[in-house]
Point group: C2
């Protein structure tokens, strides 16, 4: 509609800088990796900076403190998480199909973002000290909507009268275990690393057991 300039009043400080964008992205990526391996306290910002190819002081130029950086990492993760969470919102299909997609999405998330999942998990285990407020305000409404949907299904006699909350706890934990506890899973299976077939097997197993378990198959 208007001209290509979005800020007509900008006179001088109108720089966003590709270099900043790139560096911040790189730092966030490395930070996710290191935080997932060593936790918050076990990760030195100097180590993050080194892996990102810059000095610690330079990193601190982009993220004013370790806390701020960690926060950003957590927020990115939670947003990813909440995206998949909204799957139940899209009504229209059959309950079985929706739950199947939900489970598939969660396993997929574990496969594609294992590091993020681990950072998130450690944060939750430690009582979510940095995340509690954000979690409460963002998770709760989505969960409540999902729970209500399941309750409706139950009321309509479409599935067994199970506790919806615990159903979600079950799905979350069983799907995330392939990211968070991958070392234990790998050790149990006698594998070095899980491959696509393993995730496929996991998805099929979980959908079979959970859907049948709640009377949806």
């Amino acid at each position: 509609m208007s001209s290509s300039s979005d800020e007509p009043s900008a006179k001088k400080p109108r720089r966003r800088s590709r270099i900043r964008e790139a560096h911040e992205a790189k730092i966030l990526h490395i930070a996710e990796e290191l935080f997932s391996r060593n936790g918050y306290n076990g990760t030195a910002i100097e180590a993050i900076a080194e892996h990102a190819g810059m000095s610690k002081q330079n990193l601190l130029y982009y993220f004013s403190s370790k806390e701020v950086l960690y926060h950003r990492v957590l927020e990115n993760i939670l947003d990813l998480w909440l995206e998949k969470m909204a799957l139940l919102d899209q009504e229209g299909e059959e309950p079985a199909e929706m739950l199947r997609n939900y489970i598939r999405g969660k396993v997929e998330l574990s496969r594609t973002n294992p590091k993020a999942s681990k950072v998130f998990a450690i944060e939750i285990i430690n009582g979510a000290p940095h995340l509690k407020d954000y979690l409460k305000s963002s998770l709760t409404p989505v969960l409540e909507a999902d729970v209500q949907l399941v309750k409706d299904w139950i009321a309509e006699g479409k599935m067994d009268p199970i506790d919806p909350y615990h159903l979600f706890f079950l799905i979350w934990s069983s799907t995330q275990t392939y990211a968070d506890f991958s070392s234990q899973v790998e050790l149990s299976l006698g594998k070095g690393e899980l491959d696509e077939a393993d995730y496929q097997t996991a998805t099929e197993f979980l959908t079979h057991v959970i859907l049948k378990g709640v009377g949806l198959s």
Copy 2:
């Protein structure tokens, strides 16, 4: 039968000391608590010592290093874990009943030892750097026996032909979530802390869904 002395050949260095026993126990207990809240790197041995009512140097007299102390905490936890693991060994009852007891035992463990479970979880998430060898040698054989038992049940047509390994991953993750991710569960349920009724509900829910899901009910 014999005299009250168990070591007739002991001449001088025959002290075990109740005080050492008591102090070590106290230290281990506090350490479990703090490690579960702040992780390995986030926990200062000085903090552990303070909570145990002694100086850091005194703690170091009982445990020669932080690593050693952490190791001991982990071993205690893993032993607890493996105990409940052997439930499947006691054959004789019906498959359904055995699995039911197994699940009940795991939930019970989450309820009675949430801190231990958390320390264990963080260690696993971080790739089990301190525990891998011990885990491999102690978990694997028990798990293999359990897996074989399930395979037998499947071969006998007693249950659905599911993947036994993933069944155990499912049970481990879904039961431990009530310890490890308790803060998330509490937040989701809108509760300050889980009570007995919650664990009861969880147990009933999990046994219902999992047993039915694998064709055992």
